[in-house]
Every structure is written in structure tokens, then in C-alpha cells.
């Protein structure tokens, strides 16, 4: 008998569909209370860092160049007090097979799908991850479907997302495009059920374990070239996989004193599921619209428990503006000869200002670049913004209003990232987790929540007292 495919029926079978599509039973990791066994989830991949490195190096992934941005460093020092202005380095992740660090996430997941005998892989993503999964699937001879939130109700799409659809198709994938809304998950589940493909989720432990090589490489290359660990690593943050994997990789390399900083474009005020506001943003990822909800509630993704848990690895969370990121993208092209996609440069914009807080001999690493192309470039993105009634002008980025204007810094000295209230996010995670579980937290839960937020039991207790 054919299964009912209406919304309610499919969503009701979500757990079973997921179990089939991941080859992993998440109930094994649950405590029945607030806590779950994160270490066991990560160990469930059964791949060591060395094995992941081997998988990646077979498929054109990893060992990307670590480039010192000498001109941007010199420019940043012009605005720092004497003796300050860290050396800014960037991991040129655009050199991966499909053009972004997402290849690291896809390589491990797709290789695992192949090993388990799945005929195809699926992923729900409007970002570079689609291209990464499609690229890896092509190499492994697997079929691939990417489900994208792509258009507003009038069928208008951000040039950046449209380009990503093109790239997925160029790499052999089917791209299912949808209008705005979280029910994308229904379509995703329904097709997953029909095809029996592997869910190459961004948030599976395979995906996150794949990023650990990035943190590890950064540590090793800094030691080799500069004889020390980096003082700071800045990661563009959306769903939190980059900072989680990089943070874990740095720790595996023994970088215990490296400050790990999350950076997102501030899009406060724009609702991510709003049809009207969908095309009022001029960047489609690396922003707070993903960064904050995923940091404070990692488990609202497409897997029962997300392996991306950014607050565990984050020492600081800073925000930048769309205008600052566009400006620094142009600076990277003009002063360093590196034309790269804007979204990946969110961390670079933050780094330009963070470097000024550190002494000249400090090493600051930006964890990624991404490919650029038609649509995925500051000119089409600014042009699209202007067409959508967004004011673009030079000025002070403090006047930035997401959805209303894009302020390009009138001079590079005006690029100043802002500190977000990390403790507020930590408390928010604690409260949401306890509320969701609906039970009185045990001592083990308190310890778990301290780990989840990189704090201590006292901090967790205080947060809960505020409930």
C-alpha cells in the first residue's frame, strides 16, 4: 500500500525516515533528560582524523594554501595604535574541489553513504554545501538531489542562490527549488522517503568531523611557518559547522590558547521566513539570521541532534555589516589579487578590525574563502540590492540598517566589528534546552549545559535561576 504523502503524514514519519536516511539511531545518545552524549555522537562516525584526511585528499579536498595577506595587514596597521595590528592570514578554502570549505563536510558524508551502499545523497541547502555534495557525489558515482529555498512568492531569487543552483546542476545534481518557508523540510523528507537516499545533512557527525581537518591544518601550518600557534582564528558563522569543526580540529592539534571567534553579518530585524524580506537581504549566508538561532538552539536542524554546537568552541561572537563585508571583498581583490565570494569574507571583515586589538607579532587566521562567479560577487549582489530599493552609499557602518541600506565604509578605518553578548546567547541556550526537555535538570544535565556553553556549573545554575 502506498504511504500517505500529505504534510502531516510525512512529518509524522520524520524519525523513521531520518533513521533510514542516516544509518544512525540517535536515540542511542539520549539520556532521557536534557543531556545527550555528544562525544558518543561524534565517535559514531568511526573515522579518525587521519582517515578523514585520506578520504579528503582522494577527492581534491583539504590541504588548501594558508596565505598571508600582507597588504591588508599593512592597511589594518594604519588604523591601529603603534606596535599593534596582527598578521592576517587566510585559509584559501576556495581551492577545494567545488570552491568552498563545505567540501570537507561533504567528502566524509558522501564517502560514508557510498560505503553503506546508498544509491544517492540528498541535502537541504541554499548554500555552497549543495555544490560540495554534488561534487563529491559525482566523484563517488552517486546520484544527488539538492533542495533549495530559492525564491520569493514572485519567483525572484537572490543572484547568489541562483548561481549555487546552477553549480549544483553543472555537477550533475537535481535541484528542487522552493519558495520561502520552513516546510522545505516536508519536501525534503518526502523525497528522501521516496528515493531512499542518504541524508548528507550539514549537521550530521560526518559533516562536522570533516571540518576538523581545517582546524588541524591551520595549527600545523602556523607552527611550521611561524613557529607558533595562532593567537586568534576567526570563523564566518551561520549554522555553526565551521566554528565547531575548526574549534575541534584546533583542540585536537593542541591549540588550547588560541582564541576562537565567530563572526556573522548583522541582519537583526529581518525575518528569515518572511516572503517580503527574503530579498531585502543582500547576502544569503554568514549572517545572524542563521548564526544566532543555530548557536542558541542547535537542534532545530534537519537531524535529531546537531553535531554543530558552536557555543562549545566559541570564545567571542562579533558582528559585521553587509557594507563592511562587500568593502573587504573588494579590498581582497584589489590589494591581495584574490577575487573571492563575499559571504566567506564575513570573518575577514571582522579580522581586519580584530587584528588592530592584537600586537604586530600575533597571528590571526581567517578560516575560509569561497569561490566567486556570476551572481556570487559584490557587483550583482549590490545591483540586486539597489533594484530592491536598498540604499547604497558611503558612510559610517554604524548607520547600517539591514533591509534598508548598505553603508560602505567611507574609509577602511571605519570597519569595526561589534561584540555580541555571548553570555546572553549562552543563557538562551541553557533556557531553551531545559524548556525543551521539560524536566528538572539533573547534576549530569548541569555539567552537560556547562560544556554546551563553554562555562561552568555555577553559570548554568545562575542562568536557570533567572527562569
Amino acid at each position: 500500500m502506498a504511504l500517505a504523502k500529505d504534510y502531516k503524514s510525512v512529518m509524522g514519519r520524520s524519525n523513521d525516515i531520518m533513521k533510514e536516511a542516516l544509518g544512525l539511531d540517535y536515540t542511542e545518545f539520549e539520556s532521557g533528560s536534557v543531556a545527550f552524549d555528544y562525544d558518543a555522537l561524534m565517535k559514531a562516525t568511526n573515522y579518525t582524523l587521519d582517515e578523514i584526511n585520506k578520504i579528503q585528499s582522494r577527492t581534491g579536498v583539504g590541504d588548501t594554501p594558508l596565505l598571508e595577506l600582507r597588504n591588508l595587514t599593512a592597511l589594518s596597521r594604519k588604523y591601529a595604535k603603534p606596535g599593534y595590528g596582527a598578521r592576517i592570514l587566510v585559509k584559501d578554502e576556495a581551492a577545494n574541489a567545488s570552491g568552498s570549505f563545505k567540501d570537507r563536510r561533504a567528502a566524509c558524508a558522501v564517502a560514508h553513504a557510498k560505503k553503506l551502499g546508498y544509491k544517492g545523497v540528498m541535502a537541504a541547502t541554499s548554500g555552497n554545501y549543495g555544490a560540495a555534495v554534488a561534487s563529491q557525489a559525482a566523484m563517488q558515482g552517486l546520484k544527488c538531489i539538492i533542495v533549495q529555498e530559492c525564491y520569493d512568492s514572485k519567483g525572484v531569487g537572490q543572484p547568489e542562490i541562483v548561481e549555487k543552483a546552477r553549480k549544483c546542476e553543472a555537477l550533475g545534481a537535481e535541484v528542487i527549488q522552493l519558495t520561502v518557508g520552513p516546510e522545505l523540510f516536508y519536501t525534503f523528507l518526502s523525497v528522501l522517503e521516496d528515493t531512499g537516499y542518504f541524508n548528507a545533512s550539514l549537521y550530521s557527525p560526518f559533516g562536522i568531523a570533516g571540518v576538523e581537518t581545517l582546524g588541524y591544518e591551520i595549527a600545523m601550518e602556523c607552527r611550521e611557518k611561524y613557529g607558533k600557534d595562532p593567537e586568534m582564528v576567526v570563523c564566518t558563522t551561520a549554522g555553526g559547522g565551521m566554528i565547531t569543526g575548526t574549534g575541534r580540529g584546533l583542540l585536537k592539534a593542541g591549540c588550547t590558547n588560541t582564541q576562537v571567534v565567530a563572526a556573522s553579518i548583522d541582519l537583526t530585524g529581518l525575518h528569515m521566513a518572511s516572503d517580503v524580506q527574503f530579498n531585502k537581504k543582500s547576502c544569503t549566508t554568514g549572517h545572524t539570521g542563521f548564526g544566532v538561532p543555530y548557536a542558541t538552539d542547535p537542534d532545530h536542524s534537519d537531524v535529531p541532534r546537531s553535531a554543530a554546537r558552536p557555543l562549545r568552541y566559541m570564545d567571542r561572537y562579533v558582528t559585521t555589516t553587509q557594507g563592511e563585508v562587500m568593502y573587504i571583498t573588494e579590498a581582497l581583490a584589489n590589494l591581495e589579487g584574490l577575487e573571492r565570494g563575499p559571504a566567506g569574507n564575513t570573518a575577514l571583515a571582522a579580522a581586519f578590525s580584530l587584528a588592530q586589538e592584537l600586537p604586530e607579532d600575533a597571528i590571526l587566521v581567517v578560516s575560509e574563502t569561497e569561490y566567486t562567479g556570476a551572481g556570487k560577487h559584490i557587483q550583482p549582489q549590490l545591483d540586486f540590492a539597489r533594484e530592491n530599493g536598498i540604499e547604497i552609499r558611503f558612510g559610517d557602518p554604524v548607520d547600517d540598517k539591514p533591509g534598508t541600506n548598505i553603508i560602505l565604509p567611507a574609509n577602511p578605518g571605519l570597519i569595526k566589528c561589534k561584540d555580541a553578548d555571548l553570555n546572553h546567547f549562552r543563557k538562551s541556550l541553557i533556557k531553551k534546552a531545559v524548556k525543551k526537555a521539560g524536566v528538572e535538570p539533573t547534576q549530569a544535565d548541569l555539567e552537560f549545559l556547562a560544556e554546551e556553553t563553554k562555562t561552568d556549573v555555577e553559570f548554568v545554575k545562575k542562568a536557570l535561576e533567572e527562569l
Partner: protein, 100 residues
């Protein structure tokens, strides 16, 4: 007119506005959830606007309204944005044009 085997783009409504039960902002609540995909036309012949079946790149059969035959992308590097060359000029001046 499209014929069997042509590469086409189809459109369909996944959920009508009143069937959407997820927590949504008011503007999105008023919209249907729409879907687009591409594939080889399975019907013998079809006109734009016809309900058709396609076989997608992975071999799935999907139904929808035929909206485009031989679909192609039109996204580009965008129209001229004068601010970009202003950034370039400014950066070169700050870096290499002396301490103005």
C-alpha cells in the same frame, strides 16, 4: 510546443496558503509554497501551461506545470555599480598614494 525527451522546467504548488500550518510571518502565510524542478518531458507533446510529467536528473518522475522548454540561467555579474570603482580608487590611494 515541447516534445517527449525535451529538457524542461516545471512548477507546482506543494502547499496552498491555507494548508500551511508552520509558524510563519503573516506575509509568508498568505503565499503558496511553490516548487520548481527540471527534467526530460515524458508526455508525447505539451504546451506551456500544460500539466506534465518529467524524469529528473536522478531519474525521479515529477509532475507539474510546464513553464519553460530548454531552461537556462540569466544571472550575471550585475549592472555597473559605481561605488565599486570608488572603493578601488580609495584603497590604492590609502595604500600607495602617500599619507594623505
Amino acid at each position: 510546443m515541447a516534445k517527449k525527451g525535451d529538457w524542461v522546467r516545471i512548477h507546482s504548488i506543494v502547499l496552498k496558503a491555507d494548508e500551511r500550518t508552520a509558524k510563519l510571518p503573516a506575509d509568508t502565510q498568505k503565499c503558496d509554497l511553490q516548487m520548481w524542478t527540471k527534467g526530460f518531458l515524458q508526455d508525447e507533446t505539451a504546451e506551456i501551461g500544460d500539466e506534465v510529467t518529467v524524469e529528473t536528473a536522478v531519474g525521479r518522475l515529477e509532475k507539474g506545470t510546464l513553464i519553460e522548454v530548454g531552461p537556462y540561467y540569466t544571472h550575471s555579474y550585475g549592472k555597473f555599480v559605481p561605488e565599486i570603482i570608488e572603493i578601488d580608487r580609495q584603497l590604492r590611494e590609502v595604500m600607495f598614494g602617500g599619507d594623505k
